[in-house]
Assembly symmetry: C4
Homo-oligomer: 258 residues x 4
């Protein structure tokens, strides 16, 4: 069944396994600010034992392979996992598109998959960078239908005027925007984060809200452990900062520590 294409000349969807789902919910967690969405969605794949059903390759991804610990390579890609028990589709991946046009193309491909499975709603996950370290990250929301805003508020999702000010960039935003044109319901959940570091604490905040919405109990201990490790790193960085009397600005170097 796994059909193998001959060439990746355009965005290519490979169905590696088939499953039956009953009007599932899709959760998107691709890399982005603080890797918040990615942390949540990958955690869910792991904890829910979801199985990979789709691989997406594209010349809009970087021309790159990743090397696993056993020395074998994997072409960078996006993947869709299915959790039949909870009727979920989970979209994760190594990268988002490197071009503007690629973002549009890939998002339309995601939405094609959503329609093929008759999914009734999408939750896109991301981080909302506020430029400083934060102790109690809120979860901000945006939606592509007014009714969804009211529904989300019940779960503690906050909707603030002027936030996020710059809009939502990348797949998490486009899925809402392009989904709206197709009449597909979609909500974006954004965990507040500094924007400087991979942020498992913000991911926990998002996952807590999302579990409530989905009515699924998900073990968070792995994410909690990562958050604690990260706090140690942050504490160390703060000490170094004091010692050097210089604010943390090396955004590029720190963003993906952890």
């Amino acid at each position: 069944m796994p059909e193998r294409p001959n060439r990746i000349k355009e965005t290519t969807v490979i169905q590696v396994k088939d499953v039956r789902l009953e009007r599932p919910i899709m959760v998107e967690g691709l890399p982005g600010v603080g890797h918040v969405g990615k942390l949540v969605a990958e955690h869910m794949v792991e904890e829910l034992n979801a199985e990979k059903i789709i691989e997406i390759y594209s010349p809009h991804f970087p021309p790159q392979v990743l090397v696993a610990d056993d020395g074998t390579v994997k072409l960078v890609r996006n993947e869709v996992y299915a959790d039949q028990k909870h009727n979920l589709l989970l979209l994760i991946g190594d990268y988002q598109s490197v071009t503007s046009e690629g973002h549009y193309e890939l998002t339309e491909v995601y939405l094609d998959i959503v329609e093929r499975y008759g999914a009734k709603r999408i939750y896109t996950l991301g981080g909302y960078g506020i430029g400083q370290l934060i102790d109690k990250p809120r979860v901000l929301g945006a939606a592509n239908k007014p009714e969804l805003v009211d529904e989300m508020k019940k779960y503690g999702v906050e909707f603030k005027e002027k936030e996020p000010g710059g809009g939502i960039i990348g797949a998490s935003g486009l899925i809402l925007g392009l989904g709206k044109l197709r009449g597909i319901e979609a909500v974006c959940l954004m965990g507040e984060t500094s924007g400087y570091l991979v942020d498992p604490k913000s991911a926990q905040a998002v996952l807590r809200v999302l579990s409530k919405i989905l009515g699924i109990d998900i073990d968070m201990s792995a994410l909690e452990k990562r958050a604690k490790d990260m706090e140690k790193i942050v504490a160390k960085l703060r000490e170094m900062e004091k010692a050097h009397a210089k604010p943390i600005t090396a955004e590029e170097d720190l963003r993906y520590i952890g």
Copy 2:
């Protein structure tokens, strides 16, 4: 009637309402230097109660949604409004193309709309950055037919040798250039502006000239209020400048204040 496309794989025009216009005039005010054109055209949409008739989506726009104050999103787009009373088409939008080729593609789409409505002339609006704050902004012009230059001079539009030196970049220029190849009359009106800040005063200068040309009386009080607010910000910036004995150079940070 509002036809919804399935996918935004290329620049897509959605007709959301149909109206009859008698050889209308089109006014373009997309984002640009000092947001002068955008301020004028959006002010006109508001004051003239124009109705939205067209939405334009494109993978040449940034992959982004904007979040409204009610928490719902809008995919970045361009829009055409119609004012039947004054026989006007107004082209506004969140962004211009992010690629060179996209600029050409989108401008041809604008011109297709112009031809579909049999519009007899286009006024494109913009700012002309002069690198310093200015008290009495002039309105400079350019046109795609010599007769138009003479006509415009009567309304106080100034045409100076070597100005604007670098030509006109983006939709405001391309509409004139590509329009000329199709035989469509077009004039560009540029308000002088520092180039550092959103400039409602420059927008007022442009709107004053444009109202005279169109023979339409437009209430300017909203724009005037914005200009006064902006002047306060500028005064504050100038004080800060004196205090720090350093010229305003943080172009990026200041450009969109206001």
Copy 3:
């Protein structure tokens, strides 16, 4: 006869006049290092009273119009002029492509024109930046056939090992490379230049060699005057340099003075 295309969705060639030429020579002088080639070719168009026969538009050019002194605009383009008396085609323009792929596309279009007119050879003109002001610029050469190298040496064109080290970038180089694949003879003549300033003196050196090659007598007084004006600017810059005890490095700001 001037056919007008409806839309510039791809590189478009508009024949504005037709002429008969007998196996002409083409001379290319598009903008580049020190604008050496552009200065020479535009000088030839003027002095030889060549007439414009072709306009080339392309979405690979910047999305820009230029404003003439009379206030009318011109979409940025390339142009081919014909000098029937001397059996010449002259290729000039406002810009080269802004993308790599556009360079290939446009060069193939230039070569199509060359083949349509049965041109027997192309001379591409450019500057060779050496990073410092120079009194007696040499003219370096490159060719797409060994026999052409020997022929050019007779006219004082210099061929040095390792020069130009970085190869030849843009139309001047691609015409030789892509021309070779089509079996079209082509030579590149490069005037030494600082690379910091528009350089009419280097242009004079190139034109002197090219006139000899073509056996055409061309009045150089206009170019000479520009060179003298430029020398005054350079002298002034050198004084300023001494006064500030700082070398001229503001490449971007100085390159196009003059």
Copy 4:
């Protein structure tokens, strides 16, 4: 037989000579970190007297010609050489793609050639930048099949967890990733290198391993001489560094010395 295409509008493969090979091995050595792969593959072409059988042109390469010492030009390209005696295909070139999409397109073209010749395996060569000068460069590996990892270990290729951390970018990586989708075996061999300089010593290390794998004896004296010349340059740089008490950071200027 050498068919000449008329235009390079897309990636174009020109077969300049035909040879028969019996399930050959392909070795790829395009430019990259420290030019390690390029040094090895070009050395093999020379020492094995391989003959050029294919030229690959593409608008995804820079718009550039290189000038040979005799004054003639060559359009930048990739080339495939054949060594019938050792049943080898060698892929070398002046540049890799300048765009992401071009990398995918070109790699698929390389794999088409591999399939056309029924090649049974590909070795891609590169450098692994570690940010400091190194005396005894190791050879790290990656492969697109677990069995290949075990096989390579026998030849001293090292496979380390988390190395290379950032994955493998460009043709050397994509050939493994896209090859895997076509079921073509491929191994990447990376010589450790500073990343600042062309590194013939790292190339020697890679060639030593590769010769063992291929069971071919290749004279290394030319590469050894280059390595010694380079060592003198490095020694000089180190002296200069001491004198100036400043670390070597001018990466751009030094990378291609040698």
